[in-house]
């Protein structure tokens, strides 16, 4: 009995370590759904919430805090450290996550196409946050609908996107055929 309790404690510490690491590394807030994906086993939401709270209290009094936002959990530097951080960096422009960039690239190269078709090329789901980010930026828009069940919207890049890229037309994007020679296909299967 004592042994299984001990191993449960050990598991929980491991859980906490993995979640903390993922949150420190993530470029975007992680939802509970995202956090679940970290583990091969199916974990209860209550357990994950407990661990998140444990991480939160472990970081009390540090320069960084774990906060819960509308879109999920994320580590964030406390505002009182801004004076120090401001001295350091003459403002780095923020960057889009790779998921956003890939979605944008697919629409730029292959649009008009539906979200489902984007997902087919990416091999993973495209969250509505990603689509919203790009729509709000004015870089993609729905230009029509595919006449299949659900009439999914067809996304295309906008003229504003080309202007912001400094391109006159999509034909000025780096040619795909040549890009194919530069990389090797992944040999390792991505975990499901």
């Amino acid at each position: 009995m004592a042994e299984s309790q001990e191993s449960a404690l050990h598991d929980r510490q491991h859980l906490q370590l993995v979640m903390e690491t993922a949150l420190l590394v993530a470029q975007e807030p992680l939802s509970l759904h995202d956090i679940k994906k970290l583990f091969a086993e199916e974990l209860r939401a209550e357990l994950l919430n407990e661990v998140l709270e444990a991480i939160q209290s472990a970081w009390v009094g540090r320069g960084v805090e774990l906060v819960k936002l509308a879109s999920g959990w994320r580590f964030r530097a406390r505002l009182e450290f801004q004076p120090y951080l401001d001295r350091l960096s003459p403002e780095k422009p923020p960057r889009y996550s790779r998921a956003v960039m890939e979605t944008l690239a697919i629409i730029a190269y292959k649009g008009p196409l539906t979200r489902g078709e984007i997902e087919e090329i990416r091999g993973v789901a495209v969250s509505s946050n990603i689509v919203k980010t790009l729509e709000e930026r004015g870089w993609i828009e729905v230009v029509g609908h595919r006449e299949t069940p659900g009439r999914p919207g067809l996304y295309s890049t906008t003229r504003a996107f080309l202007d912001d890229m400094g391109l006159k037309s999509r034909t000025e994007l780096p040619p795909l055929a040549e890009l194919g020679r530069l990389v090797l296909p992944e040999t390792v299967e991505t975990p499901e």
């Binding site: 993530a26 951080l85 890939e102 690239a105 190269y109 067809l154």
Partner: protein, 268 residues
Amino acid sequence: MNGMAEPLALLFGQPVTELPQDLYIPPDALRVMLERFEGPLDLLLYLIRKQNLDILDIPMAVVTRQYMDYVEVMHAQQLELAAEYLLMAALLIEIKSRMLLPRPAAQEGEEHDPRAELVRRLLEYEQMKLAAFEIDQLPQAGRDFSWAAVWFDREMVVRLPEVTPVDLKTAWLSLLARAKHTRSHMVKPDELSVREQMGEILKLLAGGRYLEFSQLFDTSRGIPLLVVSFIAMLELTKEGLIAVTQAEPYQPIYVRLAGSEALEPAHG
């Protein structure tokens, strides 16, 4: 016809000793294998290492013959045969013939092996080839480990990320690397302007509007655009996104979004 038949005869007709011993593989696999050589040095190294030949005492006759066989097969497979391969063939033959020539007795003291420079290049290339492999084994940021990236909400000023065409290219490269099964489907000749024009046409037809065929062509921007617009329309029709109708021959042709007839009953 002769030129085409000869490599095939070489491949299947000649005695085994006349052939690279590892060439008996299906043509598709062969093509893949030949495409993997990074150039003549890579191919030569392969021939030498594969047969455990002494790189410091290369049997020129054997290696030259095998090299030529491969080049012939590459030619027959219509692989893009870089000039470098032919240059190397010439060099091999030259070295071989220099070794056959009797050397003047006077120079015997400072005898120079005609193979020396080739050996030096082969070894240097092999060293770099191995180094490239080793570097690729190193844990690499983003691929094998991740940097910490804690958010810092600077004064709540909304700054928008900047994106350049290079970023798009980078994103596409990682897609290519990942999507090995869709690779061939993804890498195909450019049809960008067509896809772009498809978007434009869909926008013109938005809201279930009917337009006359000719209204979809902007005649002020040159013939290439007209052609592209036409291809875009064919593509849209093929994908079932638009419907093109004509009541009878020589009547105006109308274009509308597919499935929008419910909004506007067909004109008579």
